[in-house]
């Protein structure tokens, strides 16, 4: 199986300011090494503060490691269910276009998926209303729908996504499972070991910023 992303001794160190010239350091990740294979579903588990969010940011290219390196051959890696780019005064459609273009898709590519995004998000007429009139669940639905139709090469799934009501949650879960069965590369982050065991091919366990376990489940 070919490697799509590889992390080599990645470390991320946050600097917390105490006063003008004094700083404290805090290692969110240290010496993290693993590989993500093309088409697999990789789980990342760990308690609060284990470094999962930071790792997601490194994987999606938002943060650069302070030490070590990340080599990725994925053209696009993105979080599923973005909340990004939401301008409260713009309608759902415009926000979807912006999000898609910021993910790196052309205007035409995003427009081609707009009908699908609209239908999947089940927002009805609200799709043409400013986002400020949306409930939290509706916003999450729009974000989920946009990213899942644009389908970045590597999808990062934060399991604690609040994707609306019961009905939509079931649909979203089904969609994620479709991704997992297909040749899509998926990385799922969760604190629930059970979810990970059900869905993933391999699992990385983090504790205090270090990898303590890396095992194959299937």
């Amino acid at each position: 199986m070919s490697v799509i992303i590889s992390l080599e001794q990645v470390g991320v160190r946050y600097r917390t300011r105490k006063s003008l010239f004094r700083h404290d350091y805090y290692d969110a990740l240290s010496d993290v090494s693993f590989e993500v294979h093309r088409g697999e579903t990789l789980g990342i588990v760990g308690n609060n503060g284990a470094g999962k969010s930071t790792l997601l940011k490194v994987l999606s290219g938002i943060y650069k490691p302070d030490s070590g390196r990340i080599v990725s051959s994925a053209r696009k890696t993105s979080l599923l269910a973005l909340q990004a780019g939401f301008d409260p005064n713009l309608n759902g459609r415009d926000n979807a276009v912006l999000m898609g273009m910021l993910m790196g898709y052309s205007r035409a590519q995003v427009y081609a998926e707009l009908d699908n995004i609209e239908e999947y998000a089940e927002l009805g007429d609200f799709f043409y209303q400013p986002i400020k009139t949306y409930s939290t669940g509706m916003r999450a639905r729009l974000g989920f729908s946009t990213t899942s139709f644009l389908r970045p090469e590597v999808l990062l799934v934060d399991e604690v996504l609040g994707v609306g009501d019961k009905g939509f949650k079931a649909k979203a879960t089904a969609t994620v499972q479709d991704f997992i069965r297909s040749d899509q590369t998926v990385i799922i982050v969760s604190h629930s070991e059970q979810t990970i065991n059900n869905l993933c091919d391999r699992v990385v366990e983090l504790e205090k910023g270090r990898v303590i376990k890396l095992e194959s489940l299937k």
Binding site: Y63, L82, G85, D94, G104
Partner: protein, 255 residues
Amino acid sequence: MRIGQLISVIWEKSRLNLKSEASTNYLSYAWWFLEPIIQMLCYYTVFELLLNRGGPGYVEFLLVGLVPWLWFARTVNQASNSLINGRGMMNQLDIPKLFFPVVIVVQCSVKQLLVVAVLLLFLVLVGKPFSLHWLALIPLLLVQFLLIIPFALVTSLAVAYVADLKHVIPTAIQFMFFASGIFFNINDISTRYVDLFLLNPMAGLVVSYREAVLNNSWPDWSYLAIIALCSVLVLLLMVVLFQRADKSIARLVQE
């Protein structure tokens, strides 16, 4: 992100921002005209009708300086906070950070075109005849656009690194206002200081605008060329700096 993609998403975001801004008002897009009209009427009432200050033609003189100045000041002020304000977005998607300040510049510049149109209309209404020299506005606006971009980039990056600077920048812009000869004529200051004064590119631009719009003469082209050249050089340098700082910025502004 490729440069073509970056440009198209900057344009899309600017367009949508303008739309979103307009949508918050009942009169939506009409405000782009109404706001400058009201402002100009204000100045006209105060300086021409009430105070009768500064001799004949003072309102025209003031407005031709003030309109380009406000474009500069507002854009730089807004752009300086653009990276901080973009923290939500940049922490979810890997976006080239140039995106944030440049969107502000583009969106303010589109509005400026309308303000300039209102200004010319105002001048015609107060009895200033149209002159061929008004065509110089095209290169003037372009040069000022080129000048504003590096200012926006420098200030936004500076504020991202040292958040305290956001308190300093409005004051610095205020100081620059006094040093740009908006409400006085540059010929009124001691000749010894004129060259020093013109080191401030906004002062030189304001003089050029007045030459073209009010005095029916062509601006000093070589001065404009120097401003354009320096702006492009600083712009290129900033592009390199932004690229190097790209991944640090998302973390810096989060704190």
